[in-house]
């Protein structure tokens, strides 16, 4: 006969303690089970957040611990919101967000629609398509700089092969106009499968009987697509957009490795700008205020969006 560790632990527990454990109410057990998680999250997430908010009203600098810390009220916030450079990074972020989401939704939905035609081997190919999104964005982003090299890079070679332009004549990362697109392309390559997977689940959730009924009513395929497929897959599509939106608003690893925010500030997304302020210029108070603004923005936009999503679901 074998004993599990818990049996052995139970056998060794003194009678009095054992009785007390056995007598624990469900309510107590619930708290014992939930408390460590809540405690850890409070310590590593909420406590730092409160600290950030506090710091955001000061002129504290980590690299000058001996300077007197002064309360500056809302001055940090005022400076950020009136700084044209900050608005430029916001613009770069918006460009990145809009284009990555548009491309990923279009390509991802098309792929899901095709995969849902249930050709042989579709499971295998779905798994292969998913690979990029599971990999480390920093490591992959670093390698994309190699693909983007003018003259020797594979990307430039392929573009040159199809269009006939000189592969040494353009640099995806070094050019002010091309760099914002370089990060859009890499991100789309990486995250389109994410949108695809969610859309696929949406398409598969539509019962066949609805299409059968539509066939009986002689609705054309085109009409079926717009009146059945799209409306029924819409909540899933919106969920995919929500996830990608939050993730890409926070985007740091892929882009910092690809372009480092350059050339100039053309691909300086807000997270990259924040990192510079906080860990290169060491303006701790200022960057804390910056962080609070970003957090409020994500949280605010996400909650408005979730409300809209719930409305669509209820329909």
């Amino acid at each position: 006969m074998t004993y599990s560790p818990i049996d052995r632990a139970a056998a060794k527990t003194p009678d009095g303690v054992a009785r007390r454990i056995r007598g624990l109410s469900d309510r107590t057990i619930a708290w014992i089970f939930v408390a460590p998680t809540i405690f850890l999250l409070l310590a590593v997430n909420i406590f730092p957040l409160i600290w950030t908010i506090r710091l955001s009203f000061t002129n504290f600098r980590v690299n000058r611990p001996n300077n007197a810390v002064e309360w500056v009220g809302l001055r940090n916030y005022e400076r950020i919101l009136t700084d044209p450079d900050v608005w430029n990074t916001m613009q770069a972020t918006a460009h990145f967000l809009i284009w990555t989401i548009t491309l990923q939704v279009l390509i991802g939905f098309t792929l899901a629609y095709l995969i849902n035609k249930k050709f042989r081997g579709n499971d295998l190919w779905t798994t292969i398509i998913v690979f990029p999104m599971m990999l480390s964005p920093a490591v992959v982003g670093n390698f994309w700089t190699f693909l983007y090299q003018p003259q020797i890079g594979l990307f430039n070679y392929v573009v040159a092969f199809f269009t006939g332009v000189d592969p040494a004549s353009f640099s995806m990362i070094g050019d002010v106009h091309l760099a914002p697109w370089a990060i859009v392309i890499a991100d789309t390559w990486m995250w389109t499968p994410f949108v695809m997977l969610i859309c696929l689940a949406g398409l598969r959730s539509i019962p066949d009987s609805i299409y059968e009924a539509a066939e009986c009513d002689r609705a054309s395929k085109w009409r079926q697509f717009w009146t059945i497929t799209i409306p029924m897959a819409l909540p899933f599509l919106m969920l995919a957009v929500l996830f990608r939106g939050i993730e890409n608003f926070k985007m740091f690893d892929l882009v910092v490795q690809l372009t480092g925010g350059g050339p100039g500030n053309t691909t300086t997304l807000t997270s990259i700008d924040l990192k510079r302020e906080a860990f290169e210029k060491w303006r701790t108070g200022y960057s804390s205020a910056y962080a609070v603004i970003l957090f409020v923005t994500v949280f605010g936009l996400a909650s408005i969006y979730v409300k809209a999503l719930n409305k669509v679901k209820e329909r």
Partner: protein
């Protein structure tokens, strides 16, 4: 033969299949390029036009795992003939191996921190998920939403006070600090996913066990855990992959002893210009395990990436 109006025609299937396979092949090119570059010589790696057929060499891997110094003729002679195959590869380039590089240690850090945080995350996550799934926890929905919302914060935004806090506690650049941090980051995922998996186990099993005289703990341990085993395993793999891939915290909070591979791989440089075969070799070793895990996970992928919001 049965006929269904919703079954696509053979022609449609072929058409869809060809387009999807074409996309898959294009999307695989960068990944295959990483693997291939790892086996190229430095000259082949920067050849134009890019070479597809080349003589494979392990030079990239040797350069990845060793530090080398440029040697003069006299030094080479004094060192005697090469004793190992990797010595030989280094000698061909006029260098001698001076010792192991830091890559092995960085990789080991990734393993320690990845597995450590996953283990801790699974213990805490399973307990919390069980409680949320089975008991009336006051403010349950608020707590669950709070747990999820911790994931929305940009990592850089909380990194400032975490950096200060870790410095005060002496946790900066330590394995323990990174394990605790990644555990906290992954808890939202593990609680939400596991709650979904445990919700699917009928309560009747436990009720039967309780009537048979099991205590709550025994019922949890002997009835619920075995039933949730697949769910727990796939959640664990998700946590492991996220910890494995994490970059922002790693680059800000570690620099030496506890540095993981993602911040280290991009810093690999050769003696003359960037040593792309070595970078590619490092990336290959780092990425291939994740691809294997992805294949294992394929049934639960969707659930994992949407925090259990979408189930197939």
């Amino acid at each position: 033969m049965s006929f269904s109006v919703t079954e696509p025609t053979k022609g449609t299937k072929w058409f869809a299949g060809i387009l999807v396979v074409a996309y898959a092949c294009i999307t695989l090119v960068p990944l295959l390029w990483i693997v291939a570059t790892g086996f190229k010589s430095p000259v082949d790696s920067i050849a134009y036009p890019p070479v597809v057929v080349f003589e494979p060499t392990l030079e990239g891997y040797v350069n990845l795992f060793t530090d080398r110094t440029r040697a003069t003729e006299d030094m080479l002679e004094a060192a005697g003939p090469p004793t190992t195959w990797y010595d030989e590869i280094a000698r061909e380039r006029g260098t001698v191996i001076s010792g192991p590089s830091r890559y092995g240690q960085r990789f080991l850090n990734s393993v320690i921190i990845g597995f450590g945080s996953t283990a801790l995350c699974m213990i805490l996550g399973t307990m919390a998920a069980y409680a949320f799934s089975r008991f009336k926890v006051p403010l349950k929905d608020d707590l669950l939403f709070f747990i999820l919302s911790t994931r929305m914060m940009p990592p850089i935004a909380v990194a400032i006070p975490i950096f200060l806090m870790f410095r005060n506690l002496g946790l900066n650049d330590t394995h323990l600090g990174m394990i605790l941090l990644y555990t906290a980051v992954n808890l939202s995922l593990s609680v939400w996913l596991l709650k979904g998996f445990i919700d699917e186990i009928p309560v009747e099993y436990e009720e039967a066990a309780l009537i048979d005289g099991y205590t709550r703990f025994q019922a949890f341990y002997k009835v619920v855990l075995p039933q949730a085993a697949t769910g727990i395993a796939s959640t664990a793999i998700f946590c492991l992959i996220f910890a494995w891939n994490e970059y922002a915290f790693a680059v800000l909070l570690t620099s030496g002893t506890a540095q993981t591979a993602p911040p280290f791989i991009p810093t690999i440089i050769g003696t003359s210009g960037k040593d792309w075969p070595a970078v590619a070799a490092g990336a290959t070793i780092f990425l291939v395990p994740v691809m294997v895990f992805t294949i294992l996970l394929r049934k639960h992928l969707l659930r994992g990436i949407t925090f259990g919001a979408v189930r197939k």
